[in-house]
Subunit: 233 residues, 2 copies
């Protein structure tokens, strides 16, 4: 049975940039499950699969609908216990929650500063309107003000945010140890978001993070690497 | 067989403040193992158990000597597999490394800013000299300059550093899930360091972190709570 994954898309349905959707796409590939991507623009997200206030990613697996990339990962481990483990059992899942919160509060803000306007530029007109309204409310400034303040092309804030990962990769190959786990995809997501939204193939990352990110881009037949990038501004 | 744990101490041997030693003391209690504390001043650390450049904590378990709180935790899980699990298996250990690196780069610097001079004040004269020389080299300024710059009694930097933990505790009781694991002691350590070195029983922490820290202080017959605090300056 093929799992359907609803992923956020730009005006071009092949430009799939959402960090959270990438976490789930990598999860499905990690488990070796068949899936089909349903590209979903911002303004269609809430009503995905008959919902009213859904957030992407959403998957449909036969009659089961699951939302949120971490909930999906835990579901996949429960539902497909014979496929490679994703979250690392109870203890792994608990610590993954901590890594998610670190990534959300440290890595995501550093990425948003670098690509907010690039995301906006990649959207269809109706989604641009939705994106502008919601983000300007969130940040308390216009997109242009945000861009002027932060998007200086300086990646040092991102590299600083990634320091705990860098130090970890000096001791082991992946956050998951010898092989990646969902916790790795948690940080892969925002970096792939940046890469796709900005339309640049190679991010100016530093240190061990470079090889780690490259190896994740190569995995699963280079799925992350061959995906379509937004047109660079 | 009683395990010997070498812990850093102040001029008063009962004032045991090292964050890394607290990680190990909590680990030994978590495993339900008998131990005796060997208080060790800064200038005796390197030669502990016949070493030349050791770092505290060090444990001696019969003929085995282990150094570094995370190495000790993994050793205890291997050596005492029937006692409660500490690191959460291979996946747990791998993710714990990430949480250690987050704590070291975010929480520890925030704590040091608040209590560097308090630690200095708690030491014996010969250790004060060692501490001053090593720390002034590390920070590139005198202890007094460091104190004047950072120790303003403002805990907002620490509470900000703890945000990923705060968000995690809104979803689960401990970093380890329903019960603490070594990853919890990794963050308990620097907070107990601050509490003991500053000689204040209750830290001005915020949110869910308060109850989490209190519950860890209460554990193992309130071991963390009944320990002797440095004399407040």
């Amino acid at each position: 049975m093929t799992i359907k994954i609803y992923e956020l898309c730009g005006a071009d349905e092949q430009v799939l940039f959402s960090p959270h959707c990438w976490k789930t796409r990598m999860s499905l590939a990690h488990k070796g499950l068949d899936y089909e991507v349903a590209p979903t623009p911002f303004t269609k997200v809430a009503t995905t699969e008959g919902g009213e206030s859904r957030k992407i990613p959403v998957i449909r697996d036969a009659e089961t609908i699951v939302e949120d990339s971490f909930e999906i990962a835990k579901y996949l481990d429960r539902q497909y216990p014979d496929a490679p483990d994703l979250v690392g059992g109870h203890a792994g899942a608990a610590m993954t929650q901590m890594i998610i919160n670190w990534s959300q509060t440290q890595v995501h803000p550093a990425v948003v500063k670098l690509c907010l306007m690039d995301i906006f530029n990649s959207l269809a007109p109706v989604d641009k309107e939705h994106f502008r309204t919601s983000r300007e409310k969130m940040f308390g400034k216009t997109l242009e003000e945000f861009q002027a303040q932060f998007n200086t092309g300086d990646y040092s804030g991102l590299n600083t945010a990634l320091l705990p990962l860098e130090l970890t990769l000096r001791k082991q190959s992946y956050i998951g140890g010898k092989a990646p786990l969902f916790a790795d995809y948690v940080v892969f997501g925002p970096l792939q978001w940046l890469r796709v939204a900005k339309g640049i193939g190679i991010l100016p990352l530093e240190g061990k993070v470079v090889g780690w990110f490259d190896s994740l881009l190569d995995m699963y037949d280079g799925m992350g690497r061959v995906t379509k990038l937004a047109q660079a501004a």
